[in-house]
Amino acid sequence: MPCKYDGNMSNAGKNLDMTVDLAGIRMKNPVMVASGTFGYGPEYADFVNLSELGAIVVKGISAEPCEGNPVPRMVEVKSGLVNAIGLQNPGVAKFIKEYMPFLRKHDVPVIVNIWGKSVEEYERVAGCLNDVEGIAGLEVNISCPNIKEGGIAFGTDPKSAGRVVSAVRKQTRLTLIPKLSPNVPDIGVMARAVEDAGADAVSLINTMPAMVIDIETRKPVLANTVGGLSGPAVHPVAVKLVWEAWKAVKIPIIGMGGITCAEEAIELMIAGASAVAVGTANFTDPSTASRVVKGIREYLARHGMACVKDLTGSIKTR
């Protein structure tokens, strides 16, 4: 859907119920920021009122610090970008020490995105986060295309995905949200596998495996050769996968992929998402999430709807 309701009638819908309870995470509104596109919170704090976000999902954290990939790590393509950051992060201990005090100061649910190269590593990082104050949920990345081991290997096979999720489930009392890869023939199978393994909600989509070659040098532009495609280009794929997942499972869905305006967020919610996350668009316009919230309000007001929750899965298929 093209972008229209971009928060121009800013007084619309002040009495609407924009809250969402996402498997126990109580959010002021359904619009979060996606992992890896918003740092750990402080980076955008000069531009965005963090307390107005539905939730913050921080950049992926692992048990040990991780160097990530060499540069270049990002390249722009038509209607999107391809990245291979490679999950650079300071490790869970340093994350807790350096960033949690800042995050706790804000009135916004914090979801920590975690990953590992083995089931044991996933367990370990989840375990470390269990007793940390101020964390609302764990998003478990089983779908990163940018690391050799782990990541997407877990996310494309239902059995492995189930194993990771069961293992993390045993470690955590936090809301557990596996993040799925778009790169599978049947997303329903994957969503059911993680639901059965104890997931409280499910996030999709992660980036799509992609590649850019510099034809002058004939070398891949990214140092990692391949990367993940995100941004507007992937939006229609995300809508389809959210809808398929929504038909397959009962747990709530966080929908993401190419959101730049309220219309695209609404589309994902109508397809079945209970909440949405803005990713790449933060780079283009840091106020995207707040524009999306305003635009959803206007839409609800104009359609005579009282609760944003009622959007979820309201698709009318013929």
Binding site: G36, T37, F38, G39, E43, Y44, D46, F47, K59, E67, G68, V71, P72, R73, M74, V75, E76, K78, S79, G80, L81, N83, I85, Q88, G231, P232, T280, N282, F283, T284, D285, P286, S287
Partner: protein, 259 residues
């Protein structure tokens, strides 16, 4: 740090491939320091996702100026805009050049459009110094007048010899440093990596400070995406990534681990 819709007040064409645009953005102009940059979103180009970073070239009276070279999609599109058009700016971003030098003489080294932040720096420095401007050809030598107005000593080098000395600007710099061993300048440089590396070498050999502004492709511009990282050596001796957008773009020569 701000986001502003900045109106273009003026466009100048200092060369075939170069443009200067003056942008009205009071909040950014009011707090800009030399070496900082703005992150620009071009209007209308619906398939452009990323902003483009440009050093602040001037900041006064509620306006900033940037000086840029047309090199690709974004800068080509930018060159189509005219006075009255608007762009979206985030800024001022990054850590700029340290400006408080006591007694030492500033020596600036510019490669191509790298002269932009250095011209701004020269204006803000209390001490006059020497500027070395290098480029492939005479067409790439910019801002000479700006430095003349400030009464700076100007040395020019072009690779094809079409203006100033023939050769690399860092060779001219080296000759100057060798000739003036008594002057202990602070070096400031902005330009391509090769130039910065050479400046860095000269500075380390002579035990001079050198502040280098790096040019890396950026995503967010605020430290969130980790696209723009540079390998650094930290005071405690171990190495790791620094974010050019947030921890830089200016680093001291000894911090940088070249690859």
């Amino acid at each position: 740090m701000n986001i502003e819709q900045a109106q273009i007040k003026e466009v100048q064409k200092p060369g075939e491939q170069y443009r200067i645009i003056v942008l009205n953005c009071p909040a950014i102009a009011g707090s800009a320091a030399p070496g900082q940059f703005v992150h620009m979103l071009l209007p209308g180009l619906k398939d452009i996702t990323l902003r483009r970073p440009f050093s602040i070239f001037k900041a006064e009276d509620g306006n900033i100026a940037i000086l840029y070279k047309i090199v690709g999609r974004g800068t080509s599109a930018l060159s189509m805009l005219a006075a009255g058009d608007e762009v979206d700016l985030m800024g001022p971003l990054g850590k700029g050049f340290p400006c408080d030098i006591a007694g030492e003489i500033p020596v600036l080294v510019a490669g191509g459009y790298g002269v932009a932040p250095l011209a701004f720096l020269a204006k803000r420095l209390k001490t006059q110094g020497v500027i070395f401007i290098g480029g492939a050809s005479a067409a790439d030598i910019l801002c000479v007048k700006e430095f003349e107005k400030l009464n700076w000593e100007i040395r020019i080098a072009t690779e094809d010899g079409s203006m100033g000395d023939k050769g690399l600007v860092t060779e001219v710099l080296k000759a100057w440093l060798d000739k003036n061993p008594e002057r202990r300048p602070v070096l400031y440089a902005c330009g391509p990596d090769g130039m910065l590396k050479a400046v860095s070498g000269l500075a380390v050999d002579r035990d001079l400070k050198a502040w280098l502004s790096l040019d890396k492709h950026m995503g967010c511009g605020v430290g969130a995406c980790l696209a723009c990282v540079q390998k650094l050596k930290f005071p405690d001796g171990h190495t790791g990534w620094g974010r050019v957008c947030k921890d830089g773009p200016v680093f001291e020569a000894r911090e940088i681990v070249w690859n």
